[in-house]
Point group: C2
Chain length 352, copies 2
Amino acid sequence: MSDSKYQTIYFKNKPKIIGFYSIVGPKEGKGSLKEYFDYIMKDDLFGEKTYEKAERKMVEQAVMGAVYNANITPKELQLFLSGDLLNQIVTSSFAARSFDVPYVGLFGACSTMAESLAVGASLVNAGYFNNVACSTASHFSTAERQFRYPLELGNQRPPTSQWTVTGAGCCILSNKGDGPVITSATFGKVTDFGINDVNNMGSVMAPGAASTLIAHFNDTNTTPDDYDLIVTGDLGKLGSEILIDLMEDHGFKMGVNYNDCGQIIYNGKQSVLMGGSGCGCSATVLNSYILKKIKNGEYKKVLFVATGALLSATSTQQGDTIPGIAHAVVIESQENFDNSKKNVKSKKRSKK
Amino acid sequence: MSDSKYQTIYFKNKPKIIGFYSIVGPKEGKGSLKEYFDYIMKDDLFGEKTYEKAERKMVEQAVMGAVYNANITPKELQLFLSGDLLNQIVTSSFAARSFDVPYVGLFGACSTMAESLAVGASLVNAGYFNNVACSTASHFSTAERQFRYPLELGNQRPPTSQWTVTGAGCCILSNKGDGPVITSATFGKVTDFGINDVNNMGSVMAPGAASTLIAHFNDTNTTPDDYDLIVTGDLGKLGSEILIDLMEDHGFKMGVNYNDCGQIIYNGKQSVLMGGSGCGCSATVLNSYILKKIKNGEYKKVLFVATGALLSATSTQQGDTIPGIAHAVVIESQENFDNSKKNVKSKKRSKK
């Protein structure tokens, strides 16, 4: 990337996802993807005294599970990139205490899974680190009471609201080994369409997703058809519909290969209104369903676009609108990446 | 860096600080470094209705000021890396809204200036971006009421407490142009010595600073004597003394070239107890006094170690201890960097 108008960077040294892990709460464990998760908690407290400590323990387990699945030792881990929804990202920072590894705290609200992968792939691709853990988490019971109302209030949820996923996910990125390859990343800009309803996150994040998708397609000279799956983080039903409309306004037709993690994590019978949300939504869907389908060959090229709503309780109380952001990474199956390299080589040969 | 035990990465393509800017509150504007700041606000509200909005405006001004000082256009900026102390880093995220630039949100508490420089230098050095803004800020009136007590309470401050700096700083990193060079970065591990006193941040952060300094000296095979200045972020008087003791325990003698931003930003007559703190402390001291002295040749090689206390009001209320972290970057004068390259070349030649 040299021209300032581009937002996408490319990874020639093919940083690979050599291990991944997902852990979810009991509600998510009854959803559509229950067979794909590594671990389903029996209850939301996970043996801890507070939900906040449960969330922290989930990140610890996700990282250690991903390290185990990557077939490396904890000592081989060189960097931990993580963020979450809690004030001062204490989930990630306190979890980092239990690993003897340098830590970079990130915050992109629910876009954090893509943000950590984009930054992590940048660092691995450049040769600075060999094995990097990229992680995030959310917990219904910690997020709801921090951003909205006390759980005990039992207040009604408006129809536009989504359900914060209880779950954590982690990828181990490496310059060695086998696994799905991160081939590019598109860093998002902050958008603001003037929405100030904390129960309508899909509408906040859809413009962020559209901005990043349009930048990605233009930068990479691709169209929605070039991907087996384009998946947004947690726009939910309403947000996804807004995104499809916004993309069409800009000349991009989102086809049947488009889906949203917030729409697929729960099943139709679960009372979640517009669908799932929270950092853990895209993190657990990526680190289970999506990466498993890339590994087994069902998907060859996936555009993963995690979406975040940038607000605090204070900003809302002070009458601020809610900005949105989305970061995107392209994840390709190793075979697809190797084949595209071969094609480039054979094209070069035929030119000679 | 290939061995997993190392925490330091090196930048061969010499990412340069081509522009920088600092803005401070009226109290900081009466301190020891008053002549070095770019802008001193007349009052803490900076023309806004809330302190939170003032803090945001400070970041916007710091970034635009640094862009101007870097002699580039806002359109040439390719990435904005920022974080702050407020819940969900709303200062940075809302400021990002006013720039038409991709944004990566970071959180390292008061270590964020070094964290953003370390990540930014990594991305510029690898050739992903040409011009990156690295920024952070804090505001006494927003931080105190969020982390401790309402300002209106006017409660007594214990002798170990520090004064949160009202200020913002920004560096523009570039692969072109002239300016101080970032030659390496050491990413810190999270430490926890079991302190849970929110009015004793120096003691929380000193072990984090010691951990990163020891890793840095060991990784780079240097000693404290190899730097014209080693400067920690905001340990304050007590924290600095603890750091000196901890380093001595590990065989490193911190000499007269060691100082702490929290100890130099205010003058002796100002009632700040142990000194300054907050993200804005190291950010404003770096982006005024330190970088100006590197540019004018007084300092050739500076080790900048920003230190953070990782806590939230919730974690404290739930009885958690407070972990600490520090990230470090080495900043060299352009002449020093060019000379050391020449020396390497002439050594190679003389070997032949």
